[in-house]
């Protein structure tokens, strides 16, 4: 019975998907030259942005100003175009240079604190207060421990991270860099630059490192 029911559901949803697919026209394509259409050039876009937002709490309109990395990554048509090769390399180098490795030589903190930071999605919205510790938002996008089932899938699974990679100096350094500034290794990575943008402090990064790399962490069980 279950099988039959399941099959019926599958067939029905396939039919629904096919019908939907045949009805809906494809949205207008982006211009191939990296422009946005004649009415959406820089002047019009800037006017819209400047008149359309207001500062609220800690989220001021200053935040709308892009750094060169954000600017490059805001145009899906041209990010990886040949004419941007030199720019990509330059910006990746700048992001790499922003990484500050641990000042006290300690790379791994407490995985239990790391789990709390990974769970928390708090911080830096207009409804958050200045000076409060930010969360890492990690589970929003990654599977981490086996126990937490409510994880997102925008980033890769980090379950068994340390078990699979070991804890060589190279791995430890790489992992720190990834958390501190993911755009140092992948210029338009979707992952926030937690250290470089001041979202997480050094102690918090150490705790996340332990969550990923400590053999005692549930991630590596």
């Amino acid at each position: 019975m279950m099988t039959f029911k399941k099959k019926t559901t599958v067939v029905l949803s396939l039919l629904a998907a096919m019908t939907a697919g045949s009805v809906l026209a494809a949205p207008p394509a982006l211009p191939k030259d990296g422009s946005w259409g004649s009415g959406a050039g820089d002047a019009n876009f800037d006017t819209m942005m400047q008149s359309g937002f207001q500062s609220k709490g800690i989220a001021t309109t200053e935040r709308l100003k892009q750094d060169p990395t954000q600017k490059l990554c805001s145009n899906p048509t041209t990010i990886y175009s040949a004419k941007n090769t030199a720019l990509r390399e330059k910006l990746q180098g700048e992001n790499e240079a922003s990484i500050k490795y641990p000042s006290n030589g300690n790379w791994l903190g407490n995985w239990k604190n790391g789990e709390k930071i990974a769970q928390s999605g708090k911080g830096l919205t207009w409804s958050d207060k200045a000076g409060e510790a930010n969360g890492g938002n990690c589970y929003n996008c990654h599977q981490i421990t086996k126990e937490e089932l409510a994880y997102g899938t925008i980033g890769p699974s980090l379950y068994n991270y340390g078990k699979l990679r070991g804890n060589s100096e190279e791995t430890i350094r790489y992992t720190w860099g990834k958390i501190f500034n993911a755009k140092a290794t992948n210029i338009c990575s979707l992952m926030p630059r937690a250290g470089a943008m001041g979202v997480l402090n050094e102690d918090q990064i150490r705790d996340l490192m332990a969550l990923l790399l400590d053999p005692e962490s549930p991630v590596n069980k």
């Binding site: 809906l24 009415g39 609220k56 929003n140 409510a150």
Partner: protein, 270 residues
């Protein structure tokens, strides 16, 4: 009030849906969520807002002691049926592309003589915005079952769509987030929440055709403007000004992409 009871019983369902042990299989979690989503369809408290929105539409108000019944939502004065499915659109009298809520502000100003400055400034949960939320529930319900038919033919309509698309990819702020960070790939989710891929017709439709919606988790009716506002909050952006071109542009992008899909408004959400 019926709403709190509905809310309470839905929370029981949520509790059941999520009361799986940590060893439970992913399958049973998904099944639980699916059961919860189905249960949500049973009674939509949004209907209460639809009724109150219909009353507000007919009620005389403002210095001119007039109702909104002659408001032109794009299909002619007073024509509500099907109007929401064709918004945003270009309006000759304002020479602007407007979504439902910016158009309602125009009607309140012109027909009722209301100064809308304070309404624009007010928080979404404030009584000052309550009429607009209820009106959007009512007007969206009058397009339920109809196909989205948003014109991009007028140069200003196409411009608004293009500006919205550019905004969709605009990355900024302390987390480097753009709309596209979460909504730029197909088949992803944040925590357990599925993320529609908005540049596609099917993905845009998942969002566009189901808002305004009643949100069970907050016990609130949210208009499309409210939904967009909270997206930008989570994006760590400053606040989009109510009914500004920023908000109309992003709506034009979603609506333009969902052309041909069927309106299911008002929706119900977690």
């Amino acid at each position: 009030m019926r709403a709190p009871h509905i809310k309470a019983s839905l929370f029981v369902v949520i509790a059941l849906a999520f009361s799986v042990s940590s060893q439970a299989q992913q399958d049973s979690t998904s099944a639980g969520i699916e059961a919860y989503r189905e249960a949500l369809q049973d009674g939509n408290p949004a209907d209460l807002y639809v009724d109150s929105g219909a009353e507000i539409w007919k009620k005389k108000a403002g210095p001119k002691e007039a109702s909104l019944e002659k408001c032109d939502l794009g299909l002619g004065p007073g024509k509500v049926k099907g109007a929401y499915a064709q918004l945003p659109r270009y309006f000759k009298d304002t020479n602007k592309v407007q979504d439902l809520e910016s158009r309602l502000l125009t009607c309140m100003e012109k027909l009722q003589g209301v100064d809308t400055t304070e309404i624009v400034k007010a928080a979404f949960s404030s009584p000052k915005k309550a009429d607009l939320v209820a009106l959007s529930a009512y007007i969206s319900a009058e397009s339920k079952g109809m196909k989205v038919k948003v014109s991009l033919a007028h140069p200003k309509e196409r411009q608004m769509y293009d500006l919205g698309r550019r905004l969709f990819y605009y990355e900024a702020g302390p987390y480097d987030f753009a709309c596209a960070t979460c909504h730029g790939q197909d088949g992803k989710r944040i925590r357990l929440q599925d993320l529609p891929y908005i540049p596609s017709a099917e993905g845009a439709a998942k969002g566009w055709t189901t808002w305004p919606a009643y949100r069970v988790s907050s016990g609130q009716m949210w208009s499309m403007q409210w939904r967009i506002n909270d997206c930008f909050r989570q994006q760590r952006f400053p606040e989009p000004i109510y009914a500004s071109d920023v908000t109309v542009a992003i709506s034009s992008f979603m609506a333009g992409n969902s052309n041909g899909s069927v309106m299911q408004t008002p929706g119900i959400k977690r």
